[in-house]
Amino acid sequence: MTTKAKTFTIYVDGEAVQAVPGQTIMDACDEAGGYIPRLCDVEGLVPQGSCRICTVKVNGRTVAACTQPAEPDLQVEHETREIHSYRKDLVRMLFHEGNHLCPICEASGRCELQAMAYRLGISQATKYPYLQPVRPVDASHPDIALDNNRCILCGRCIRASRDVDGKNVFEYIGRGIDKHIGVNGANLAATDADIDDYAMSLDVCPVGCIIRKKEGFFNPVGDRQFDRHPIGWEIESKRIPTTDISGPAGSDQEVKP
């Protein structure tokens, strides 16, 4: 695609960011090396705007950056105190909705929910009540287990299975607070799910819900995905090329194990 002529500018917290028609606010920011926090969206899948963590303000209205089209001269508020507080609240809600016990979870250190909490500065128990759901664990499949208690309903597995693998292993079931991920059969073993599916890869499930059996805790503490860099670092490093492994240049953000 050569649409150079059509490039236009949007302003994110006052800073000019180039965009092309068809891009969302998030696409444009990603390309420019500006990271907008997100959990339900991931490179390669159709954005669905459900976690709302990428909330930004456009012309005074709050919208999801992952689904909102970029338009010429758009004024986007991104890292304001108000938006930051919304994002923290949303991440806290997800923590309190499910059972997220980081010390005993094999996703710890590569968990995007955990990493997001650190990035946004949430490091201790919060004001919300814990809902402590008791959802069944599906360990029927020889290579994969599903612990729905850790699910944050991002739907990445649904889209990955449907749009990338060409299967339909997952789908949303129920509604409201009872909404959960269902599988296309009596249990996961009864479906055509395979350990080599993209949906089962480490890129897709942001938390420890989809568990690849026999390979937990494969990285020692210190070597895990978010031990050295905060979440969003790959995108931010586009803007400021750096060889410093301590994080984005200029950042002295402490990354806790």
Partner: protein, 611 residues
Amino acid sequence: MQPANEKIIRKACLRANNDKARMLDILHEVQDQLQCIDSEAMELIAELIGSYRVEVEGVVTFYAFFSQEPKGAITIRLCDDIIDRHEGFKDLVETAEEFLGIQLGQTTEDGRFSLDSTPCIGMCDQAPAALINYQVFTRLTPSKFRTLLRKLRTESDATKLVTRYGDGNNSHHLIRSMVNNYIRQTDKVLLGKIPKEAGLENALSLAPAAVRAILRDAGLRGRGGAGFPTGKKWEFAAQTAATRRYIICNADEGEPGTFKDRVLLTERAHLLFEGMTIAAHAVGAEHGILYLRAEYRYLHRYLEDILKRRRKRGLLGSNILGKDFHFDIRIQLGAGAYICGEESSLISSCEGRRGEPKNRPPFPVQAGYFGFPTVVNNVETLCCVPRILAEGSRWFCGFGTQQSTGTKLLSVCGDCTQPGTYEVEFGTPLVDVLQNAGSKQASAVNIGGASGQMINRDEFKRRICFEDLPTAGAVITFASHRNILDITSYYMDFFIEESCGYCTPCRVGNVFMQQALDKIRNGLGEPSDLDYLKELGKTIIATSRCGLGHTSPNPVLSTMANFPLVYAAMVKANGVGLQAGFNIQDALDEARIIAKRRSLIYDPAYETGGK
């Protein structure tokens, strides 16, 4: 699977041309005949319509009126609205539980009865009410209900138990319902005397653009709540280049305390379809859908019959009124989901999917039903259209205020002597409505239902119009002995039950709101809980994806703003240092059971050897 069941499912799918978009119709038929849509049924349906099992399961589990577990041959759904609660819902539940020997939510062992509750069924002017196999029973008392239940032991057709029919078309042989219209006040636009088809004839003699211009000049705004200018909506749809366009009428009147569309569907069905036909002409649509909420299924056959008559008279179908204009309407039955009143969710539901909202942009007028430009208008809005085309925009502007032209239908209910439907001019002070309805004692009024606001006496002088006190129709009056916090808690429960769960803040945040509110109701609240509720409400409103989430904290926030003393009386600062909501005895219970002994420190009875 039993061959007989398989035959039923195959027939249901075939009747819908094995079309995935007609999934709701298929599921309704299977649910009706088999009392459930179980795993095997879902598998077969998926195979026949080219879907997959878990997708069908996703749809089945989304709608309250579908069930995976077998329901009784007689399915009783007691309306659990706040008005019904005030009018004896609990007594009815107890009556049924005692008579049937089951709890709410259960089915009798013989499979004869199941007993459920359901949010507002649009009968608040004749509460308490119930749906029994979709037949409506109103103004129930425990003794009447017991008699009904006794008869239902042998009589499977609930229709036959309706002995006295309601007024107007409610006694029509295709409705035969005990529902009453309770039209208390009429005006010239909708509920007065109305000439037949004059609007359509006028509209078809004009070019589509001219019709849209008349609508714009009339200043008609959507009656469903948001108040978007109808002419503008039509203009957008007409301007979007497309091979097809759709007109959808939103008859999913789910807002608790609202029932005015029920009256229009009963008494003004021709006017409604005339309005849809004019809309079709104005935007260039050939297809229309009436999305009828399942709670109003008792009107389904009647409405189908009217469509048939209109086709026969050349008012629908090919070459309408002899012109080169073709348009037809199908009725899509909902299945118990408040969210489907949101226009993009309604479109998802019409497409045979989970009724979840779609991302906007694109807006439905750009890309709606299966990607085609779609106009979604409320019943009342579409009923205004033929009147404007018949009498002119100037006539219409003669009613109401500058920014809110025309009249508005109000559903008045609650603590008043004359509950029912009122047609008032926009700009009418609320106090006048209350007076006419015989609500002298009202100390609080809910305007707009669960998503609306609760106002106090100081605001009763405000006028009903978009620029002052907007409402989709609900005017619910509460006398001073009603508990504001109970009412608020009811509305929060409603949102928790009806949230589609798509986005985090609405799915999770509302549960937290409810928990904090309960803490206050139970006398365990602290002053900081009030700030907590405000902040949480702000986050939910700001970050939710659709109108449901944007309005769900309203019950709490508006009562906090307008009835601060109610909250202040319930919260107290705690000097002890413990959190007020924390009960050490409850917290220790589980440990006591595991340890099989009591706590030496916290169980004073331990030392004395007492229990």
